[in-house]
Amino acid sequence: MGKYFDMLLEDIRVQEGLRSCMNCGVCTGVCPAAEFYNYDPRQIVNIVLTRDDDEIERLMRSDVIWYCGECMSCRPRCPRGNTPAYVIQGLRTLSQRLGLFVESEKGRQQLAIKRLIGDNILRTGYCIVPRNVVPALHPEQGAVWEWIIDHDKELYGRFTPVYGSDGAGALRKIDDESMQELHRIFEVSGGKDFYATIERHSERKAREMGYDGADDDYMMHTYTTNSEQHY
């Protein structure tokens, strides 16, 4: 009893965001995720406060912890000074470290995020670049976005002299030395290990689910699947 609770408390966000809860439900009242999903941040705080290992493990294996949008609307509102979102961040991090995230549909999506955003950071130095926002995967970006991507050099060239090249300005290429520094930061601070952990557990789960490992097919499966069981 209390093993997972102690592990969670090693995360300073959980130390900062978890005090006693008076079950007022204010966090749930302002929460955009609670409005849309079968999700209740008040309950998350309560379950963690029980210190019950089985209950906390169930959370970390479930879809529930992945619904939050990390908007932080709950933070300034809690009369007890809790930040349910910090508790969620702690649960998500631990769920990935322990490999439990692959046991839920929403949790498995971490692989897609790691590859689409995480790897892009180490490739380009940016979270996103225009060519990542591929119109085929982003129909909601609309007709103008498609036009922009079709004429990216022409359009971005109007606003930045260094689109994809060296120098100061928007969408410049990040120089090799800075990229090396970024890579070393990810190495020494645990970022690369964390990426590897996501890949390793996804590989295991993908095989269990009948894929030839965590290949593009599996990743696209996690990216597009919605069982409609979340509302």
């Binding site: 409005e35 933070r75 300034p76 995480g118 940016y126 909601e140 103008v144 970024l182 930061i185 996501i198």
Partner: protein, 361 residues
């Protein structure tokens, strides 16, 4: 008594000599806004802004979608601060609300948990040989525009006024959750009375629209947009805001955060295509501006030089109301002034059947 409590919501904003950190989202979707910010600060206001060619992303989108660990983002942020120090600056300004929230949160975490600052210093030194220097002041770029709003008003070529009726334009402002909900004291007006955009709108002659869902999230929700299967969350939250604001007949929306501005623009497109619903006048969409675009129009900049052709919802109806002179054809020119063709037509700009705008309150 009232005065004293309002003081709590003010923040000190440096007057000059800024180190500028660009935003992944803003430069992707609003590259003209980043350029306009620098042009306004340097050209119109005569300020010194350092545009460093070697800073990187803050990695904030990776952090808030839980693939980048806290220790890693802290070290990346420490590198940005170190670069500021090496360049001889102390006033750090960020062009993105997600980044701004992260910088604020990390500085505060270092205060509260000094061992995390120590560890970050070690990681930074080990990885890059650089030394962490903490900024003397931290601001979002909209704080800077707010700070100079009266000076901009004095130089204004146009006001936020409808030239046909002489009445103030009605403006919806969207602050972005991470501006002041994480640390209320970090934002002008705090999380209760955010005034950063409202202050600009009032100074430049417009009227701020209050509506029920004014403080609701735009719906980005990080993983809830990034993963295709989750986008229902994102569009549903934007829709909630749009439905709520439309009956108040806003002339335009202005966003603090580049992500929010992009979503409120694009989801109008998606809703119009999916359901035939629009939220602005004449069955069209509501134009969504960045505050740099709003300031740029006030100062007489050309809308296509501001990058407003990159919006999905057409801005021409607003330009006409404001009395902006523009060349309609120049919207479709590339960098060398060559015509590059037009985007496909979209329902949001063509006039839709189901318009919430005309509902009587």
């Amino acid at each position: 008594m009232k005065r004293a409590s309002w003081q709590e919501y003010q923040k000190d904003i440096a007057d000059d000599k800024y180190y500028y950190a660009r935003s992944c989202i803003r430069q992707n979707f609003f590259p003209g806004s980043e350029r306009a910010f620098l042009d306004i600060l340097r050209g119109d206001l005569g300020r010194d802004v350092m545009d460093d060619p070697i800073h990187t992303s803050c990695t904030g989108i990776g952090y808030h979608s839980d693939v980048v660990p806290l220790e890693t983002i802290m070290t990346v942020v420490a590198r940005q601060f170190a670069l500021m120090g090496e360049a001889g600056y102390e006033n750090f300004i960020s062009s993105c609300i997600t980044s701004f929230g992260i910088y604020t949160e990390i500085l505060s975490t270092w205060e509260e948990f000094p061992e995390t600052e120590e560890r970050t210093r070690e990681y930074l030194y080990k990885a890059t040989g650089r030394e962490l220097v903490k900024p003397r002041s931290l601001a979002h770029t909209s704080d800077i525009v707010f700070h100079f709003r009266d000076e901009i008003a004095r130089k204004a070529k146009r006001k936020l006024v409808n030239v046909y009726t002489g009445r103030p334009l009605r403006v919806v402002e969207h602050i972005g959750c991470h501006y002041a909900k994480i640390f209320p004291k970090s934002g002008i007006g705090g999380s209760e009375f955010p005034y950063v955009l409202a202050g600009m709108i009032e100074s430049w002659g417009g009227e701020v629209v209050d509506y029920p869902e004014r403080r609701h999230c735009c719906g980005f929700g990080f993983r809830n947009y990034l993963v295709q299967a989750n986008r229902g969350y994102s569009i549903a939250n934007s829709q909630k805001k749009l439905e709520s604001m439309s009956p108040y007949k806003p002339d335009f929306i202005v966003g603090n955060c580049p992500g929010c501005s992009m979503f409120l623009d694009r989801w109008q497109y998606a809703i119009a295509e999916m359901e035939g619903t629009t939220y602005g006048a004449d069955g069209q969409g509501i134009p969504v501006l960045t505050y740099e675009e709003m300031a740029g129009l006030v100062l007489g900049y050309d809308p296509w030089e501001l990058g407003m052709q990159m919006h999905q919802v057409d801005v021409e109806p607003l330009l006409d109301k404001m009395g902006v002179e523009y060349d309609p054809a120049a919207k479709y020119l590339g960098r060398d002034g060559r015509y590059i063709g037009k985007p496909e037509r979209a329902a949001v700009n063509n006039g839709c059947q189901r318009a919430i705008y005309d509902i009587k309150l």
